[in-house]
Subunit: 434 residues, 4 copies
């Protein structure tokens, strides 16, 4: 239902979750089933071959499948009918043997997800690459760290980018693991006992999963939806990692902060000074939508008995949306960081604007060994409320530092702590993960 | 992104939230703005007339607008450019005077909502009509009331349907009120001060709202989104009323209960006995999706300053989805109740299956005046655990009722309480609301 | 389960949703029921009087009620037992006549909500008062309006505060309407037919509602939870209005913006320069939690048949949380605005920092009549990318403005549009609403 | 805020997330920090020892900490002050060296989670054990499988229980993995650079994590909250596995189905026949609440810069709630399955009630090889609409089966497919996981 979806979601991803893609997923399931049954001797090889030929999505009209599907509540039943018609009477009996509509739709969901997740992962890779580049280049570029949006102490822009990087790498790892381990074939028959497949049922399941290169589940999972929930959670987390970048870039790009600018900010014909961080805003918007869709997958009512009356049907939209918007978030965040313009002079100017207050903590710790923590803080607090922090410290007899010593302490670039070492740690993890 | 959307959402509603509909909404806003400005003497009448002619959605390609809109984060900016080009140099300056993209998109959201809500209301009307018919017809048809899904005491099917009816009427009232009172024009200019419209700005706003037949807000509401949240809540409530019907019908249609059947239940080629309550399941699924979309509108992070960086952009999909799936839920629930087959014999049989236990409460209350509440309960509890409740009561000397008296008390149709009077109350409200 | 709840929720509100308050609500329901039955002649007046005396929460141990309630899934059943024991055998039979546990718990929910909502409303009033004060005082104080967090055009701080004010007033109105119209007595008996109350049942319901000063519903609403959902939506909206204030104050209080400071910002012993906008952060946090709790009320699965198996039980926590955190959000936002320190010089300095670019729109519109919109924008855009916007405009022969004329146009305080008039509109609504 | 929390959450778990537990968590962090610093030579060993002695929660008043914490927005700052006071001037300077409040609160969150998750896991173990027992005992007990709540084909109760088992085992594995790998120490100092800890900072972090037996993170994770989100997702999934049991038991316990009954169902004094599946209802309610709390952790707005203004503060309640209610859900579901009364005769009777229709699929597949799939279905469908399915089949010349052959096919216990083999697979995984 997304209006103007091209604003949010890359074309590739929209294609990957389109009706066409879902139809192809269902047809892939049907082909694999026919082949698995043929291998087990349950249907003729020629029939399976004829079915395989007919399993191309372009031969079917998704809109018509949906309209016919309304009466039975899913698109698989009309697709099976259409497929039977297409393969002709000889092969028709070999179509969909022993399976139920949910087998086909759930397997399609897994195949759609496999393809779409790979696109999301590619976007996360782009995001991670962009962040790594920034982290490396600005490993030692001082800037103000901000807590509750207030300047706290110095950090480096590299460490900020390393935080984004670590988030992307973490999200990528989790999502890749779900893709690798949790996407499973679905085949249970009418209600999960595989009764219509007879003695060879479990062997058919094994071959079917193998054919599709999906995991073989311990049990049919018609109403055990944890793998769907895990996929949803991983997509929400990926979108969240992207949104973190979007929020930080938006804040850093504020007119009054002006430390970064997106490489292609959005303009305004009447306000030529505007450099709207559009990609960042889209990352945030997509993350919000990905979360909402994922929450349907994560927090649904339990699926009743052997097939749910509603909770199952709600998953298709939620899954398509979570995949799309997670990819949209990662793509937009990548757009935001790639080529991000960094104004290190402005970072320094913002750091210096407080006249040394941004390293008040450092002065405090420097004085503490001699004065005790309590008095050290009192000295610093008093100086902090003076007109000039530096002058007040120099004037306070308890401080006992020369102007030179004090100026050295007040230099924010000398109080970066472990920022650079932490950047190196994050880069090492990133490089190890490639 | 909804796969197979025709399964869930009526065509009319899909059209009402389509990209085409959004484009028309934006164009309606532009036309009204030009006309309001012309009336205020800010732009030439002829230019406004030329603009009005060009404000037909079929003249623009939504996909292209979306692609161009990605750079600026919204579809209004490219639309304004295209509109200017179309009206030619003489009228171009009269396009979009003093307005900002959000003015146009937000106004379009209101117009899209107005149209789509009217379709949702029509579906709720259908649902209410169907429920009223059932409530009237089965005002006195005894059935078991069930709490925690256990038979409790008798009720009538009419009262159950009256409950669905009251829910639909309530949801309709709330949604109609939001449509009538809370859909407001948006016009604030670049950041809510209307500065570019000069002295006449507020007059232009008044005319603009009038032209669009939308409410005139006290302030521009670029970042004050309560009307959007209220709309979301009303749509979620409407979907919830539909889902209540879906859940109850699904439960009543269970093989072991079999008190109702949808008029066109979903079948299965291999299981001809199945009478799947598909419409009910779709109502539940749609309600889940409507809720999830509405929750984006209801629980979004606050919109920053004078335009949000992301929260705004996330609304378009959420609103379209909430409208669509609320309508889908109401339509499916209406499908479920209209022509619903009621098996009043089975209702009676289910009531009788407990051998009178379903009116144990009645016996208890009947004995209490003489035995005291405590002993009355003890007598009833003892009899309840016997093989035959009736025989045990007759055999218990404390009961002191003749077989005739007891049988009269044990008749579930004699213990309907105020069920019929309550049905009448609900019908009166329904009829008053038409 | 809230850790350190005093950080988030005022004591009064915590009391209002405490176990004690819920017990008192249940007892109020029992007292009203006994009195209504006595008035209808169903139980003796003396028994009703004895019951009334025993209906004081301090006589019961909520923890014990909860522990005993686990076996039956609600606290009303053990409370009724305790109440019967306390009033003695003569009055015991007059306790809880014809009612079910849900009647008592739902009515208690309404009474708890009535009290707690009044506390939330008082906090919203405080917030509105604080915003109104700011809107009035700073009606004409120029500051930068910001879209996507970028300076756009000038506005006044008064208009920003008026936006907060309008949000609070709107939220207050909606919440007060729900409190006034939607809080209804619950009395349906075992399953909504009121059978155990006999002929006089509806009369008892009427008196019961009257006694409690709650609305009398058309039908018992055991599984028709729209009023609960509306309450949840109104609480989420109230919290959202508070969060809007929190977000804006946090952004304005940033070190680099520094236009406002909370009157009691949070400090840091080692970073004496920090002025953490703690109240604003708490408003945002509370709003997030209020939303999450409200979403349980808004988006729950439908309640099955005549009493839900789980969805009902989940409401108690969700309702208590939504009430508490909505109140916490409003209280924290009020703390943020009351005494908010406004630095109008800094507002002006931030406006001036762009060297006139913040009024680029104005120049553009000023030149358009003579040059045409297109060329006017081109002139302004060219100047905007020069070192000095003003100098570039003066140097451009097409501009045709004297330095004096240009400086007048470049003065941000001359481009406030309808800001002041809009402030007046919002104040008028606020004053009308008191 | 949970009213009557003992109804929902086991005492142990309430204790594990109590204010007391959070205070102890913060104190454990302080002790570990002092010890790590002492080991690195940054503070005296004796001071660290004195601090360790003072790190007992019973020495502090959580309510007071919360009240004082309101001003700074967290409970750590007042706790540090109280701890300094308690250890006296000599050790005071060794308290909280180089740390920030978030370090302490986040580490406490991890410690609280570690303890509470272990309690949730124990409940999941209990649930799994109960399910395994049922799966083993009823491996071959025939019952109707139900899709969309309609009887579909036979299955075994063992397979249903095996599905619950697999869900519990899966949820347990995921949650245990999060507990084992993702709970990490937090130590970053004022804004993540560890500057105040000087050269040895990373060594202090290493020792601190080691001391606490928590993972050492690559970077401080003040605003990188994926581990929190993963914990939330795992808790929601655990609750979901419990809710699945609750929903199925509730449905099976319906009066008209009556295949199972909880061992201690909830009763009613006036309706002695009621056997309310209270534990199941509580499992469903807890799962709903766990999901809502988890969704705060999963779908929060991104945390800004180096400390969030609100999103962080909202986590404490959400985490405590998710832990509590996930545990409550697992505990209630375990209560539901342990001792669950199984009525295998009723299961058989329900299966038989359709007169063989429940194996219509089998007849269809049996006839297909000879008649072709199409005609086989037509034969079966025709018979299905007759008064007696069996008689109609016998009467249809195309069927060609003797009464004996037909009766054998119509026996539901002969059409269990791979149910038993699947039970064995699930049990093997369960046993392998112990």
């Amino acid at each position: 239902m997304t209006p103007f979806s091209a604003i949010f979601v890359p074309q590739e991803l929209r294609d990957a979750v389109s009706d066409h893609a879902w139809v192809q997923g269902m047809l892939d399931a049907e082909r694999a089933l026919a082949q698995a049954c043929a291998a087990a001797g349950l249907v003729p090889q020629e029939a399976a071959a004829r079915i395989a030929e007919a399993c191309r999505a372009e031969l079917y009209d998704p809109e018509q499948l949906a309209e016919e599907g309304r009466a039975v509540g899913n698109p698989a039943e009309p697709l099976v009918r259409a497929l039977r018609e297409r393969v002709g009477p000889d092969a028709a009996d070999a179509v969909h043997p022993g399976a139920t509509s949910q087998d086909v739709v759930d397997t399609a969901a897994m195949l759609v997800s496999r393809r779409a997740v790979s696109l999301v992962l590619a976007r996360l890779d782009g995001l991670a690459d962009g962040c790594a580049e920034l982290a490396r280049t600005h490993r030692s570029t001082p800037m103000a760290a901000r807590t509750l949006l207030q300047q706290a102490v110095p950090t480096t822009f590299g460490l900020k980018a390393a935080g984004w990087l670590a988030g992307s790498v973490e999200a990528r790892r989790t999502l890749a693991a779900v893709r690798g381990e949790r996407l499973a074939a679905q085949l249970g028959g009418a209600a999960g006992t595989l009764a219509a497949l007879g003695e060879d049922a479990l062997e058919v399941v094994r071959r079917y999963a193998e054919e599709l290169e999906l995991a073989e589940p311990v049990l049919p999972w018609h109403t055990s939806r944890q793998r769907i929930a895990e996929l949803g959670a991983a997509l929400a987390a990926a979108a969240g990692a992207a949104a973190k970048v979007g929020v930080d870039v938006t804040l850093l790009a504020q007119t009054e902060v002006a430390e970064v600018a997106e490489t292609s900010p959005g303009g305004s014909s009447t306000m030529p000074h505007k450099r709207n961080p559009i990609s960042s805003a889209l990352a945030v918007a997509c993350a919000r939508l990905a979360s909402a869709h994922a929450s349907v997958l994560l927090t649904s009512p339990a699926h009743e008995h052997e097939r749910a009356a509603g909770s199952w049907h709600a998953e298709w939209e939620a899954l398509s949306g979570a995949l799309s918007f997670a990819g949209g978030a990662a793509a937009a965040a990548a757009d935001a960081v790639i080529g991000l313009e960094i104004d290190s002079e402005r970072m320094r100017a913002n750091l210096d604007a407080s006249g040394g207050l941004v390293v008040a903590e450092r002065i405090s710790y420097a004085l503490a060994p001699r004065l005790g923590r309590g008095e050290a803080h009192a000295v610093v607090a008093a100086a902090a409320s003076a007109r000039s922090f530096r002058e007040a410290l120099l004037a306070d007899g308890r401080v006992g530092l020369s102007a030179e010593e004090l100026d050295s302490l007040l230099d924010p670039s000398g109080y970066l702590g472990s920022a650079e070492a932490l950047v190196d740690r994050a880069l090492a993890v990133y490089e190890g993960a490639r």
